[in-house]
């Protein structure tokens, strides 16, 4: 009973939190962008309706597609849920923090991406291949960039275990402000924009073949499959925002399971995520989508920033 309380319950709570929060954040971002464009925009709850609708709709499958096509949505969703169990949001240490560390998280994202890219090639449509090719190329730079960015935080804590990193950082707030840290943060921010398929790297809400990346891969998806893929990409956004906020500014995170602490932590987390979401929306609205072959330069910037952060950390010894 006790370990149900200490392990399973908090884990499930966190999972549910992310699951529930994800569409909302997207809704908020959408709304903000609409405002920037002087539009009314859909309500912030729109994504929930979409998901509910999609879950009930019938699925159209290409006759070319193989079992990879049918399994991938579940696999992607699963891996994202798994990540949701590993990334600290409200409370540290997480019950499952020993199961996987930051490298695991990144690799799990890679796993999802791997299969989505395969789906792009599975249906035999030119769009899919285009999307897969672009996605993997971009990933091949942002993935290392992300790792380096997080390693900077990791070495301060002397561990790649997320909970430990966060705990260490929150115990020494001074180190949040050191330059290496800030570099890493900006690196990770660019990574987030790219990973979650946002302007200036990708445009989530267009199907224009010249620009789209992520949408191109999942173009053949519909109904329930699409629902899960979309949902998991929304969760991905939340997770990244969580990483951004808690890896670098773990303010007000709950250090124990006491209700009060949890409330504070929850509030803090919500606030931080909202703020970051707003920032994302602002960036999206104030920037133009880059030409595809200018994107690598941007990503290289992220990579270099993170690398600098890491090396800087050593030179000045933090």
């Amino acid at each position: 009973m006790s370990d149900v309380l200490t392990f399973v319950l908090p884990a499930l709570l966190q999972l549910v939190l992310v699951l529930v929060l994800a569409p909302l954040i997207c809704g908020i971002i959408g709304k903000t962008k609409a405002r920037f464009q002087h539009r009314q925009g859909a309500g912030i709850l729109q994504p929930y309706y979409d998901l509910a609708k999609l879950l009930r709709k019938e699925v159209v499958i290409s006759s070319v597609a193989s079992w990879v096509f049918r399994c991938t949505p579940y696999l992607v969703f699963a891996s994202t849920c798994l990540i949701a169990l590993l990334v600290p949001t409200v409370v540290v240490p997480l019950p499952l923090d020993r199961v996987g560390d930051i490298i695991t998280v990144i690799s799990l994202f890679a796993l999802g991406r791997f299969f989505v890219a395969l789906v792009g090639l599975d249906t035999g449509s030119a769009f899919g291949g285009l999307g897969a090719s672009r996605e993997m190329s971009i990933a091949s730079i942002i993935e290392p960039a992300m790792m380096l960015a997080i390693f900077t935080a990791a070495v301060t804590a002397g561990s790649t275990n997320l909970s430990i990193i966060v705990a260490k950082l929150s115990s020494t707030p001074a180190s949040m402000m050191n330059p290496a840290h800030l570099l890493a943060f900006s690196g990770l921010f660019i990574v987030t924009m790219a990973e979650t398929g946002r302007i200036p790297v990708d445009n989530p809400d267009t199907h224009l073949e010249l620009t789209m990346i992520h949408e191109a891969m999942i173009l053949e998806y519909s109904g329930r499959y699409l629902a899960f893929v979309e949902w998991s990409s929304q969760m991905k956004l939340v997770i990244f925002l969580a990483l951004l906020s808690n890896m670098f500014f773990p303010l007000g995170m709950a250090a124990s399971m006491s209700p009060w602490a949890l409330c504070v932590g929850g509030a803090a987390f919500f606030a931080k995520v909202i703020v970051l979401a707003a920032v994302v929306a602002v960036v999206e609205s104030t920037n133009a989508k880059l030409r595809l072959f200018r994107v690598p330069e941007l990503l290289m910037v992220a990579f270099i920033l993170s690398l600098l952060a890491l090396i800087l950390y050593f030179i000045i010894g933090a």
Binding site: S62, R98, L118
Partner: protein
């Protein structure tokens, strides 16, 4: 304990004689049988079955032997007394040898079983007896390499290995490419061997003995300079075999040329002989006093090999060449572990060194399994479609589901994705390097982050490459009649691939098994002589060194499976069971999409080629034939070439220098008898002056 050694000896003898018999018996039958048996096919198939079954049996014996040593932890040492002028010789299976023996035997077992089916493709076409002979000789020589505890013996088996593979590469010698590959390979590896001879004889000249025991004992330490010379000889000599950049040029030629079961062995196992040699020399003979620059050098080599290896792989659309380049990449990753170990050892941080080495060795095992698996898969594809060019493939997942599935597992493993084995060993490598962050030494502080960054880059690129490899080959629509007419492989081939796939999973989710074996091995090496201090928590949890970071692949796997069921259930909950409608893929308004509308492998890697254009130095030409009208182009050919920097700026100049100077010298044979007499005359005069 005595009986233990007894039956281990039995296992050893069984294995060795088995390979020998497996080589000779079929050869004899092949020679004698021609007279007796009328039908060549029946004869050859008996030869095939006999040879590969024996190979299978003896490789299983090898597994048993290696396990018995690894688990009991006490080495096997067999003195032999050949009548050769090099003193007493010995075979030994200490932990290190046993580990590599295990790797060899494991893959050999799978491949032998695979070959039972695969080699049927050669019936009636090729000399089966020769194939079987060479195959067993190859395995025998490799086991000999790891088991020999004497320089002469080692070199003997080493060269035997090179020779047998040379003949195997030339097995289909009508193909000029195969001949070129074979020649390139044998010359490169011979140059390597020459350096190894220098190395061993240097060790000999100090100790006065050829036995590894003498090289090892601390009394016979050589001066630092000689140590470094030996180190360089070993690095180059073994590096050629391991295929490190820039000594790799033979590898992408040779592996595709050989029959696929052989390529699996070459790539999965033979490259590791180079690694074995390095570990043996660095940490067994030369340890423990190690200068810092050794580690740095190895790290540079490692990084170069891994990044360039994967980058070159990305542009390949010959499936086996692509895999060959990935071998280079993975050797690089292994060397990151070894280089890190050298670096940490030189700075006196033995536990960390041991951890790094452990990671490297773990990756040796993993690469052997998944690369073996992938090459076997490629073999099945080749067997079914008779082409290695993935631009002509596609849609095979329908035609050959099992092969596709196992190939996919291999692809996931090599892309270091959880929860399979590639992920675990790369994770350990990351951990070892990251823990090195706390060493306060400037070179380390520059070297480690760069290595980490590039390791991360390698992993990501590998994933991209295997999306291409698997996606283009197995998914979508068939791009040619080859792919149309494909069929699933025979049972033995599938079973072999399946077993390797299972290993990929097991070594992934149950790392504690491997680590608990590897840790005593590593700590037994004099160069390291410390435990990697990897705590093994519950649920197969790995906790290297401190209590800080950890993973539990088993739990990950379990959760992943559980979490996959969750959305299924959830979907069912919300929307009942899935209602499906199957239609053709949307073809942008055209009635139906054709295979030519799909993305090609070349197209797939285009963005990456652009990002790293200054490494590829790609040159492409577009040829448009306009005989009818500029608006209706009957055919447009697009040709793309990426040049190998090393070939152009290292090897070709060297070649030209050598051949040029040779041409110069050849002029001395003028054909004038007077010139010849003049040579004698001058020699005489010179000697007379010398004598005065």
């Amino acid at each position: 304990m005595h009986d233990l050694t007894d039956w281990r000896l039995a296992a050893l003898t069984f294995m060795v004689t088995g390979y020998a018999l497996g080589a000779l018996l079929p050869a004899l039958i092949g020679i004698m049988g021609r007279a007796l048996v009328k039908s060549v096919v029946t004869l050859d198939s008996t030869i095939k079955n006999l040879g590969f079954t024996i190979a299978l049996a003896s490789s299983l014996a090898g597994c048993v032997l290696s396990l018995s040593v690894l688990l009991s932890g006490e080495p096997l040492y067999v003195e032999i007394q050949p009548s050769l002028p090099f003193g007493a010789m010995a075979l030994h299976a200490d932990m290190l040898s046993a580990f590599f023996l295990g790797v060899i035997s494991l893959i050999a077992a799978a491949v032998s079983f695979y070959s039972l089916g695969y080699a049927t493709g050669f019936l009636r076409r090729r000399n089966m007896a020769l194939l079987v002979f060479l195959y067993n000789a190859f395995l025998l020589s490799m086991t000999g390499v790891v088991l020999s505890a004497h320089a002469f013996l080692f070199l003997f088996f080493w060269e035997a290995m090179s020779l047998s593979t040379y003949f195997l590469i030339n097995y289909e010698h009508e193909d000029p490419a195969a001949r070129r590959a074979g020649y390139l390979y044998v010359v490169m590896t011979h140059l390597g061997t020459a350096l190894l001879v220098v190395m061993f004889v240097l060790l000999f000249s100090r100790t006065g003995s050829f036995s590894f025991g003498a090289f090892r004992d601390p009394g016979s330490r050589l001066p630092a300079v000689v140590q470094s010379v030996i180190f360089l000889c070993a690095t180059i000599g073994f590096g050629v075999k391991a295929g490190i950049i820039p000594l790799h040029i033979w590898l992408p030629e040779a592996h595709p040329a050989a029959p696929s079961n052989i390529s699996a062995l070459m790539s999965g196992v033979m490259l590791k002989m180079g690694i074995y040699g390095m570990v043996r020399v660095y940490f067994d003979f030369l340890g423990p006093d190690i200068p810092e620059w050794w580690g740095i050098l190895i790290l540079i080599v490692a990084v170069t090999s891994s990044v360039l290896g994967v980058l070159y792989a990305l542009t390949e659309h010959d499936l086996k060449r692509l895999l060959a380049f990935h071998s280079i990449e993975n050797i690089g990753i292994i060397l990151m572990g070894i280089g890190g170990a050298l670096l940490f050892a030189s700075l006196g941080n033995r536990p960390l060194a041991s951890l790094a080495l452990l990671a490297g060795l773990y990756h040796v095992l993993n690469h052997a399994t998944f690369k073996g698996l992938l090459f076997l898969g490629a073999g099945s594809v080749l067997h079914a479609t008779h082409t290695r060019n993935i631009e002509e493939l596609g849609g095979l997942i329908k035609k050959m589901p099992w092969t596709a599935f196992f190939f996919l597992i291999g692809a996931v493993a090599i892309s270091a994705l959880p929860p399979l084995n590639g992920f675990v060993s790369e994770w350990l490598t990351f951990q070892a390097l990251l823990l090195g962050f706390h060493i306060s030494d400037l070179t380390v502080r520059i070297a480690i982050p760069l290595t980490v960054a590039l390791l991360a880059l390698t992993g990501a690129l590998a994933a991209a490459c295997f999306v291409k490899a698997f996606g283009i080959t197995f998914l979508g629509l068939p791009r040619s009649d080859h792919a149309e007419g494909a069929h699933e492989s025979s049972f033995s081939m599938i079973a072999a691939m399946g077993s390797l796939a299972v290993l990929c999973v097991v070594f992934g989710v149950a790392p504690s098994l491997v680590v608990s074996v590897l840790d005593p091995l590593v700590s037994s090496l004099p160069g390291v002589h410390a435990s990697g201090q990897v705590l093994l928590g519950g649920g197969m949890m790995l906790i290297p060194q401190s209590d800080a970071s950890s993973i539990s692949p088993l739990a990950l796997g379990g959760l992943l499976v559980a979490a996959t069921l969750f959305p299924v259930a959830a979907g069912y909950l919300f929307g009942g069971r899935v209602r499906k409608r199957v239609v053709m893929t949307w073809g942008c308004g055209l009635e139906k999409i054709g295979p030519r509308m799909q993305y090609t492998a070349t197209g797939f890697s285009k963005p990456i080629r652009m990002i790293f254009s200054n490494i590829y130095r790609a040159t492409h030409e577009i040829e448009i034939s306009e005989e009818t009208s500029p608006y209706f182009r009957p055919n447009i050919t697009y040709e793309l070439r990426t040049e190998s920097v090393f070939l152009k700026y290292l090897y070709e100049p060297a070649y030209h220098v050598i051949i040029g100077s040779a041409r110069m010298v050849r002029r001395i044979q003028t054909g004038h008898i007077q010139t010849y007499l003049a040579y004698i005359f001058l020699t005489l005069v010179l000697l007379l002056l010398f004598a005065r």
